[in-house]
Amino acid sequence: MSLDQFITEASGYARRVDETFWILVAISCVVVFLLTGLILTFIIRYRRGSDAPRGPLPEALKHEIEIGWTSATFFLFLFLFWWAGVELMAASSPPKDALEIHVVAKQWMFRFQHPSGAREIDELHVPLATPVRLAMTSEDVIHDLYIPALRLKRDILPDRYTYIWFTATTPGTYHLTCAEFCGTNHSRMYGQLDIVTMQDYARWTTAQPEGDDLAHQGDKLFHTVGCSGCHDSPGSTVHAPDLHNLYGRLVQLADGRTVTADEAYLRDKILLPNRDIPAGYAPDMPSFRGVLNEGQIVAVMAYLKSLSTTSNEQGARQ
């Protein structure tokens, strides 16, 4: 492992974060030099017994100085907040049509699932110049995915999804690691990020042994586990919501609220079905906790997402 695997600016965002960092360093150095200079000057010039002129400062001057440096500090800090805040806002919306990779963290490893069905442990291949979104969840305690070269870090929580997105611009191998204390082998929970060209990524993907892509696996589970019995049976007496074009839509709930059917919503429906009941439906759906494991839930969700894409993209699933 070389230092390049940590400090390289592997994306445009990383470069901008570094800019902000160095500006802060510059400002800090100026402040430290100024203050140190003043302090050293004062303690030498005004050491006990020296003959430098002394005497009280006029009150009005004192007051002006106080207001002066208070305002200056306040406005400098406001500026710094604005600078960093703009940076944050610019990076705050996930890109549309990102390549979605699922991350499952558990003590003490990361499992990455590509939409093609490929699975990796502690190593993540991503294509260059492509928006990538990592949807992450944990099977046990709180973990964290930290990729220093991308200047990104996000906690990974149990029973919830958190996200990291990026567009990598510098090919290479980089370090990734867990950055939330998670037990005995926390310091051994690391791996590598391989940023490869888009062609290499496509080649790599097809070379992977895992057969079906995620959506296909999810389709099979949807039928074998019993979801289709209520959700996809025209003759069924159970009144269950139609899942076509559900992902990404707004859903009206029984209690009057409106929510978006995102990963968290779908996951809750599978595991805690009576939590946010959609309007017009009874709380009859059973929970699939213990029936579907984390990887299978990911596959079912990939299938449900595929029910919302256009026929073009459905064709591209292969």
């Binding site: 029984a254 209690d255 805690l272 009576n274 939590r275 009941i277 709380p283 929970s287």
Partner: protein, 210 residues
């Protein structure tokens, strides 16, 4: 006439300042107690906002009879405590002692009812576990809050009862004069514990029952 000079303690310059100081100190302490319970109430509020239906369903299983009876007992005990404080201020020692005793008795009655209620709750398996009767998992969150909130309240009430009885004994054995600074602190604390219950009662017993 009681010997007031025994009531004055170091480092107070005189009894009036001491009384004010003790009262002030108790209120500062209550500020910390308010924050202690606030953390609990915030947890309740957050979880209820996530799971309104499950909370409503779970709260229907609480024993409204016991809860309301306990509310009545505590409110009455606040009345008797106020009587004790008023009597102490005008040096009616006998009334003070009786009122303190009644307050402690009402507090103990509350704890007794709570114990009976807990017994009933456990018989119905309303403790979060595999045998929990309600299907929706967030219902267990409500009952988790119930046990923790009422448990911590009961601990505070027990402390109040213990202090009440201790002060009753100190007054009775004439170790402290009733018109000292102690009574106000005891009463203030008691009213606080009662107020916490007045918030707990609707949150635990009246949700989903309107």
């Amino acid at each position: 006439m009681s010997d007031v000079s025994e009531a004055l303690q170091e480092p107070w310059p005189n009894l009036a300042v001491q009384r004010e100081g003790v009262s002030f100190g108790i209120w500062v302490f209550l500020a910390s107690e308010i924050l202690f319970f606030s953390a609990l109430f915030i947890t309740y509020a957050v979880y209820r906002s996530f799971n309104p239906e499950a909370f409503a369903a779970a709260a229907k299983e609480t024993e409204l009879f016991y809860g309301t009876l306990n509310t009545g007992l505590l409110l009455t005990s606040s009345m008797t405590m106020t009587i004790a404080l008023r009597a102490a201020t005008v040096q009616w020692r006998g009334v003070t002692l009786v009122a303190l005793a009644l307050t402690a008795a009402l507090g103990l009655a509350f704890l007794l009812c709570k114990g009976l209620e807990y017994h009933d709750d456990l018989t119905k398996n309303l403790f979060p576990s595999a045998a929990f009767p309600l299907a929706a998992p967030p219902a267990q969150l409500f009952w988790m809050m119930y046990w923790i909130m009422t448990g911590i309240h009961a601990i505070h009430l027990s402390a109040g009862i213990a202090v009440d009885i201790a002060v009753l004994l100190l007054f009775w054995r004439r170790i402290l004069p009733v018109q000292g600074s102690t009574m106000e602190g005891v009463a203030t604390y008691w009213h606080f514990v009662d107020s916490v219950w007045l918030v707990l009662y609707p949150l635990l017993y009246l949700v989903g029952r309107s």
